[in-house]
Amino acid sequence: MMTPTLALYINKIADDLFILGHRHSEWIGIGPTLEEDIAFGSLAQDKVGQSLNLYQLLNKEAGYVEPDAFVYTRTADAWRCCQFVEQTSHKDYAEALMIHFMYDHAHALRLEGLTTSSNVSLSNLAKKFKSEIKYHTFHANTWVKSLAEGSLEAKQRLQAALNGLAPYISSLFEPVEGEETLVAEGLVPYEQLVMQQWHQQVTELIQPFGLEIPTLVEIKASTEAIGGRTGQHTEHLAPMLHELTEVHRIAPNASW
């Protein structure tokens, strides 16, 4: 059995993946092109699939309830996702793309750190997820490049989306309580380190196009979006949970 602190860490990653996976799926049928509909559908399947693997691990090695019950019965305050992945205006593809771009670079770097975790189950899952996420970052990078090098309007909309998300960036790296013991035992990478690597990588990718993100100092100083790991969420999470649990609330014991 794993410690409650490691379980909380895995819970945090799984919730980020599930919530963002669901957000991706919201573009099916209304994406900017038919192929992009399909792309967001498959990105969603990958992320929800990864979260399922992690929820199963929690069920097996940490005594959590089984994945469906865990996802469908929790109220917003019991979710451990960061506020960054909850964000949506429901109509801006540039925003959905920037969330996807920024989150997946953070996720890829974190997974890299987890491949050497002293918890074998976790390191095996991280190795398994890596190739999927390599495509997710490739997909995001390709779109960001194409739009940033496209019309002036496209570039301005990307920058506007980035500016809107800026206050939430720090939450991507919000640690769970007790992180230092996990790092000391070689179980997980240090979030501050992931944040530094992320900032360097994302800056190198978008700077050539003239897009700007806040400095590392500014990100570290912004704390208004911190709280997701302890159940404090923005107004976007509860309506989403309400919508995605609709069928489950009608027929809680239905099997699929």
């Binding site: 919201e26 049928g29 209304i30 092109t33 192929e35 992009e36 399909i38 792309a39 498959s42 429901h90 109509k91 495509y135 490739f138 997909h139 390709t142 779109w143 490049k145 194409s146 496209g150 919508e243």
Partner: protein, 126 residues
């Protein structure tokens, strides 16, 4: 008339009234790219279809979604359709062969009996 859908995602989009028309310009039409798919390392890339895309990089992303998701894939190529040189449909008769030159067709060479004879000889103990 306001668009109202049973799907909450459509209602949240705040789409313009249904009488609103968008004029398409030629810039809105993406080029087509021919997609070539490789099943395993070392195998030939086979033509599998086309995708519409604004540039080669996105054509590759779309090709991955359309043709690389099901079944084994080791590599994909995309080629701008306009870069392909080919014969014209009305020239398909250049591939016809007159009946009296059947000696040019591989199918006209009957080797089955010779192969069977050879196999039989090899199998017989000396």
């Amino acid at each position: 008339m306001k668009n109202v859908s049973l799907d909450p995602r459509f209602n949240r989009l705040d789409l313009p009234e249904s009488s609103h028309k968008t004029e398409l310009t030629t810039q809105d039409a993406f080029e087509t790219y021919e997609v070539f798919h490789q099943k395993k390392s070392g195998a030939q890339h086979s033509h599998v279809g086309i995708v519409h895309a604004p540039n080669p990089e996105l054509a590759l992303v779309f090709a991955k979604e359309q043709f690389g998701r099901r079944g084994a894939t080791t590599s994909l190529w995309v080629v701008r359709s306009s870069e392909i040189f080919g014969t014209l449909p009305e020239d398909s008769d250049i591939f016809d062969s007159t009946p009296e030159k059947l000696h040019r067709e591989a199918s006209e060479y009957k080797s089955r009996e010779k192969i069977e004879q050879y196999t039989k000889e090899q199998a017989e103990p000396k």
